[in-house]
Symmetry: C2
Subunit: 669 residues, 2 copies
């Protein structure tokens, strides 16, 4: 252990790297880094296991800065401990093209484990990481081979604890006894609006006791001895731990410490100078890292480097001892799919009665689960409805972390955040189910999955008024459009059982972001693919099912999901009336946009302007595909409670209406 | 008190009205009504104050069925207690056009206080109602005139308690000591997936203790004596109360009671007959209401009718004693605005430097607050950023419920749910602020505000990449489009200070639904309205700011919010190049759609096909306004962290780009 004096200077180095950066950027959050510098110091120098040269080492400890606004704390730590983040990058805090954006961004900065800032998300990510770690350990570890054996640490704020997603995730973490999860709560008594007394007076320790967490209160976050003791206690308990550390926002700032003014504004030159004087730090140079402090951090990271070297040996021995498991570990960590896995996709026979796409999705999931051990997921208490269970697989419990079905409870948002944490862990392809309408509950997590480019699969069933009697509260209207508005998210709404199978394939093959599957509650016919184009064409987003009638098509009918059945019926009538019709199945705008322009024009030729799009949801955005000459039949109102056929009829989603509109468009009787 | 036997038959009447209705509909949720019939009986016959002929009596007790899937419990109670809901309506459960949809719908069925079904929402609505009741009591009650003096009761389920929104709202309810709030928790140990042991093992009583609620455990929800005692204790405590009532889902069903099968499926004929036999109920006729049971309910509602009559007398005396307050009460209960209140709207002078629309919004709010005492709201811990505070007004505390600023804490979702509860209470116009990107966190509540047609105002600031350094985590991209996808929601993105003022006017005048204001963090010029059309034109959704250049316009440039400044700059250059340009400010699609076709064509003439739309958000949906011949300049990617001017430049949202694209469109150099 180094001298107290050196430790304190190391901690002040962190504080003032952060404060100098915020001051230079004239933007940012100095309060958290200054208040929690000692905690970060302790974690990085004495508790966390990591190798800064190998930030993707699978057995590293994870660190989640759920209070992402304190990003400079993390950047300072990554710089000081030798990650690939230069002092120049710190000086470019919050500038265009830097690796030090306002909030930590996964994939941009080495060592940043997850993108945080929207409060509560990191908290749930960490729970997902802890679940993933427990699962991977159960699956891969063997006697004498602790391949996965690490902790998830985090710093969480008042804001994190107030957010509902954190409550949901905390409850589940306690239930699942995720003992490798250790959060330090930056208990600084201050939020943006002022004192926590304004709105947050609950007994936080008692609340986490109720969730079956270990809670440890520390009266001074700057007391290294007490914090160290607390962290040791946390590691030695099989429950998740919350260390409530009384801290001081903007520690050292002469007038702003312990005030909301320290939260999210530059300290100002005078205040910054005052803090440096108070803590015995030279006013200049800015961004000072004393040599002995740098040496000290270097020395502290040595143990981690060695642990990784040992792990590499272990990994090699493991490969010899368990070649199959080892290969699976290697493949799944790399995110690769097994060769020819797509052969496992089920093929559904043509069938007029058909089945709900949630059912074909479930069958596909089960077929894939057999060849993809990395598939792991569950439902927010709608297992039977979402068809997300894997037959014969038990559910994960504290005693059975190696299982791969998760009962998330009625906690959609935590599910979303946890799926992100599981995907971030690598080695797993997580999925989660709920009703499409409740995608709203988890939308902030979906957005972050997209921003991080995580392969997460959402199984959203009951995807329209077709769910029937549950009525408007449960019938999605704007949800498809709202999901389509999220960059990088793929939204897939398959039209029949075979499209549903390929939708899963598409989701698995898309490694740069999440996929939302929108699936019916009600039966849809399984198309006869000898008469219509193969379902594999789903992978192109939109495709010509068939050109019907004589001569060149006069009209394009396009639809997604269950409404493909409607346009097919309408087409029959139109063809009988002598009108040639092109039928387009349009399961995914995003996939279609990714195709070549020539392909897109081959499906939707410029010259063919008479077009009708049909979807049982908001019409928003469809105009792009039908053009000025076309019309959109959808729903810009909330639904109804009744047997679904009656709702379709009442709201005008019928073949008859389509025929009528088509004839009007073509100006024929 | 009636004989036990009659009470039990009254309770069985409730159970079997519900079970018969679900069986007839072949769809629905029998479990909750059968398990909680005794609790409902007790509430409606011995605790709740209401007059079934006057379901809008302001001083009635409210009942919130947060577990909305148990709708038949509520419908049975409303029928039996004499609300305008016939037995025939009960027989039409879940049928097209009935007043008994799958989940309770506010505005459709007399006595339904809020639309529920999406779990956790009702919980938060009730907290908002309790806050509103405390506030109205403080504002209007005078010595001897307890004008507002009622409770908010509710039944909440496992699912409600698991949802994050309920955690958020519960924490705030405890903080604010909303003692008039009394929830009975249907502690039936069963969720859809099975036993609550699967995912929900936290200590719920301890958790609510931590929130500073009174918690009372009752070991048998069917024990009228114990439940009565618990309800009395709840009423006599100044904290909100949670009564954890051990219940039995599907009580009476021979094989399905206490199983997930009782939750959401018809019992089946055999099971239904078995339950009737078990509980001593005749198998036929269905929908049986014995005469003495009906008489009993009638007798029990007599007290409420009398209380209302007394209240009417009180109300008259109040009008004499406090004519001004009385008039204000009358006006605000009716939801009417004071005459000429719009004269209070501030007028902002033309100013090139201008101000952020969040600032002009704040000034407008403050001006309106002076004449509209019913304006009440707050922010999810972003008061200074959202500019939602009313100067000089203190914040609501347990001791000061009559104040009208609310520190919601970092609890966007609870804020959304509570705003709904406050609007449902009547007499208030609630508003709430957060960053636009975090509208995602409260989206399920926004959707329900729209579905219920509630006048709620969302103050969403930091509405684009224009927020700058906080970066992509905080920069909304798809949020405007996602909000536009919600039926009945008005989305307004004003372009300058005077449009911001009229945006508030629009929100106040729109009584059929909520309004979302999207406001800038950064300054925008205040337009010179002597040169451009008046800002009042915002009320039409889109309007011609000016036709610039010589002759008829060759091009339409349209934009919303801060991007209006960009098209104005681009127009200058284009006009210099000899191109005549029409400038259209487009703050609201919804308002524009509500205009006559002739007005819409006057702004966007069919013949004028060269159009460019500019908005710093997802392009989704704009194609509708620019048509096949036009282009959309927006952002279909996540943002960046940097000073905002640099982000705009880097992402191509510049006058130069618009000029270039315009010239290309017009095929001029």
């Amino acid at each position: 252990m180094k001298s107290d004096e050196l430790q304190q200077r190391a901690i002040n180095t962190i504080r003032f790297l952060a404060a100098d950066a915020v001051e230079k950027a004239n933007s940012g959050h100095p309060g958290l880094p200054m208040g929690m510098a000692a905690v970060a110091y302790l974690l990085w120098t004495q508790h966390m296991k990591y190798d800064p040269q190998h930030p993707e080492w699978p057995n590293r400890d994870r660190f989640v800065l759920s209070a992402g606004h304190g990003s400079m704390l993390l950047y300072a730590m990554l710089h000081l401990t030798g990650y690939d983040l230069s002092l120049d990058e710190l000086k470019q805090f919050r500038q265009l093209g830097s690796k030090t954006p306002g909030h930590p961004e996964y994939g941009l900065t080495p060592g940043v484990e997850t993108t945080t800032g929207p409060l509560g998300q990191g908290f749930a990510n960490g729970v997902g990481m802890a679940l993933a770690a427990a699962h991977l350990a159960a699956v891969y570890n063997r006697e004498g081979f602790p391949l996965i054996d690490h902790f998830i640490y985090g710093i969480v704020s008042d804001g994190d604890l107030m957010e509902g997603i954190a409550s949901e995730a905390a409850s589940l973490a306690g239930h699942l006894k995720l003992g490798r999860l250790i959060y330090v709560y930056d208990n600084n008594h201050i939020t943006i609006d002022g004192s926590t007394d304004l709105a947050f007076t609950e007994d936080r320790a008692k609340r986490f006791d109720a969730y079956e967490w270990q809670t440890i209160s520390v009266d001074d976050a700057n007391d290294l001895g007490k914090m160290d003791q607390a962290l040791r206690a946390a590691k030695n308990d099989d429950r998740p731990s919350l260390i409530l550390a009384r801290s001081h926002i903007g520690y050292g700032l002469p007038t702003k410490q312990d005030t909301a003014a320290a939260h999210g504004e530059p300290p100002g030159e005078e205040e910054l100078a005052g803090a440096k004087e108070k803590l015995g730090w030279p006013e200049e140079p800015r961004f000072l890292v004393p040599d002995d402090v740098r040496d000290h951090f270097n020395a502290c990271t040595q143990a981690g480097r060695e642990e990784r070297t040992e792990w590499i040996s272990l990994r090699k021995a493991y490969a010899k001892a368990f070649p199959e498991l080892s290969a699976q570990f290697e493949r799944t960590q790399a995110g690769e799919m097994p060769e020819d896995f797509e052969r496992s996709l089920p093929v559904f026979e043509a069938d007029k009665k058909g089945m709900a796409t949630r059912v074909s999705s479930g069958k596909t999931l089960n077929a894939l689960a057999g060849v993809l051990p990395e598939l792991i997921g569950g439902s927010a208490d709608l297992t039977g409805s979402n068809k997300t269970d894997i037959k014969g697989e038990p559910a994960i419990t504290p005693e059975l972390p190696g299982a791969r079905y998760i009962h998330f409870g009625v906690r959609e948002h935590a599910m979303g955040g946890m799926l992100n944490g599981m995907a971030l862990t690598r080695g797993l392809i997580p999925y989660g189910g709920t009703f499409l309408v409740f995608s709203d509950y988890m939308r902030p997590s979906i957005r972050l999955a997209a921003m991080m480019g995580l392969r997460v699969i959402y199984v959203f069933t009951h995807d329209s008024i077709g769910l029937g009697e549950d009525g408007p509260t449960h019938q999605p209207i704007g949800q498809l459009a709202a999901l389509r508005a999220i960059p990088k998210l793929h939204v897939l709404r398959p039209a029949d059982a075979n499209e549903a199978a390929y939708a899963w394939l598409s989701a698995l093959q898309y490694r740069e972001g999440p996929t939302a599957l929108a699936l019916t509650r009600q039966n849809v016919a399984t198309l006869d693919r000898t008469k219509f184009a193969p379902a594999q064409e789903l992978l192109k987003g939109a495709y010509v099912l068939a050109d019907l009638g004589k001569g060149d098509p006069q009209l394009i009918l396009m639809a997604s999901g269950s409404e493909v059945g409607l346009i097919m019926q309408a087409a029959e009538t139109l063809v009988e009336a002598g009108i040639a019709v092109r039928l387009v199945s349009f399961p995914s705008w995003e996939l279609f946009k990714e195709q070549s322009e020539s392909y897109r024009l081959s499906v939707l030729p410029t010259a063919l302007k008479a077009r009708i799009a049909v979807e049982a949801g908001a019409t928003l955005g469809w105009k792009r595909w039908v053009g000025d000459g076309g019309i959109v039949i959808g729903l810009d109102r909330f639904g109804e409670s009744a047997p679904y056929q009656e709702i379709y009829a009442d709201l005008g989603l019928t073949p008859e209406r389509i025929v009528r509109e088509a004839k009007a468009l073509l100006k024929v009787q």
